[in-house]
Symmetry: C2
Subunit: 286 residues, 2 copies
Amino acid sequence: MIHFNKVTIIGVGLIGGSLARVLKEKGLAREITGAGRSRETLELALKLGVIGHMGQGMRHAVENADLVVLASPVGTFEAVAGEIGPHLKKGAILTDVGSVKGNLVRAVEALLPAGVSYVPGHPIAGKEKHGVSEASGTLFQGAKCILTPTDKTDRQALETVQALWQAAGANVVLMNPDVHDHIFSAVSHLPHAAAYAMVNTVAEFNEGTENYITFSGAGFRDFTRIAASSPEMWRDICLLNGPNLVEMIERYQVSLNSIKKAIKHKDGGKLEKMFRTASALRRGLG
Amino acid sequence: MIHFNKVTIIGVGLIGGSLARVLKEKGLAREITGAGRSRETLELALKLGVIGHMGQGMRHAVENADLVVLASPVGTFEAVAGEIGPHLKKGAILTDVGSVKGNLVRAVEALLPAGVSYVPGHPIAGKEKHGVSEASGTLFQGAKCILTPTDKTDRQALETVQALWQAAGANVVLMNPDVHDHIFSAVSHLPHAAAYAMVNTVAEFNEGTENYITFSGAGFRDFTRIAASSPEMWRDICLLNGPNLVEMIERYQVSLNSIKKAIKHKDGGKLEKMFRTASALRRGLG
């Protein structure tokens, strides 16, 4: 059974807060300290009992921590790692919950002193509502959690973080950080970019005083829901996973071209075949 | 108050069945007859009390009907109109619930004999589950219903169909058939084509024995839910609204290009601005 003397969560939002709740509910940590940019969020987290202590500044918050969890926006990881690196104790484990790995993992790792183990992670969980008030100890139940150890990752630290996610009810998958980024450029980053592009395409048009978008039905709303996500966060993800995402956008444009061509040629058989393949695959996902 | 002696619904699925339920629950018709390709569906509709009579063949089913509703797949409209046209009584109203108007409206209208009024319609309603067993008299409550009269559409027939949809709780919007097709190529047909293209893009990749798609989260699932829709129906819609949809796919590709370009140039400001515009618009839709 894993047990930490002190865990520091940097960024106590939905994901960081939910992991804190798991630690508390399962009795996995003696002390849970929260840190982050927003004092208001930390005070709320304290009031809700998600964290037991509020860090006075990032450096102080990580002192003596056995486990530090980066759960702030992925665009802040390098800066935060640079700031806290020198203040981590020997033997501490640093992990994160960011949705980009690859180069970012290597950049963070390079900022850490010897004796600190970095175990990069990415739980595939979330819900429509954000923020610490939505945090729940059951958020990760049945979800996949991907860990992307590097050549330098300490085996024991990896096992500890793996045990933590298993305690949270997640199914841990080990993966190369670059493979991770290729997969998620396809299944997550591309759909977000595509949803933003879709809303912007339709928003150009007006019919009388009403924008075309006011005629949208449930399909359009489902399709574009993810375009309501945080623009700053997605800006950072797109930049951090740039080359993969550019590849995927280009592949997506090829796929759109096939449909466009079949429509232009009035090729009903081809259209139906493409739609049938996609439909069967999508139904399989539930 | 409108009242019909005999209404015939051709295609008793979710939409046709729900309109039949409205007619019955509001006491707007003495007789409701169902017709369509599938005898099984009609028997179920009869058993559920959605229709009161089952037509013995399409021609016979429309005889003496005051109102005939085309609610079969939009790809069948021309063939059905050609078949039933000569059998419609003088003074009958033909309406439909199809999601393509424009040229299709003109084609159907050309097949009707003098003395029959055609009032093209498109209720913006639906739900994930299809079929007559899902039909409900409240499906159209608060929904938009677009009517696209032509130069030939009889004013009184238009008012009658308008009153029917208002009785169903819908907000009726009158619109030119070609404007309708341009709007819906943007807000409905493009997202469907884009969702099919997205699933096919991601399906190309495998990681070990698992397809990338198995790593998809709630975002991807929301985004591609509409790709589970009927391939035949969407093949027909894409072909019937071809030129508009090709225009929209091209505009969408331009919007994707802007994102791709900003990523390539590492232009975070531009990316954030595009995402922020889309995000604000999307949040406004609820």
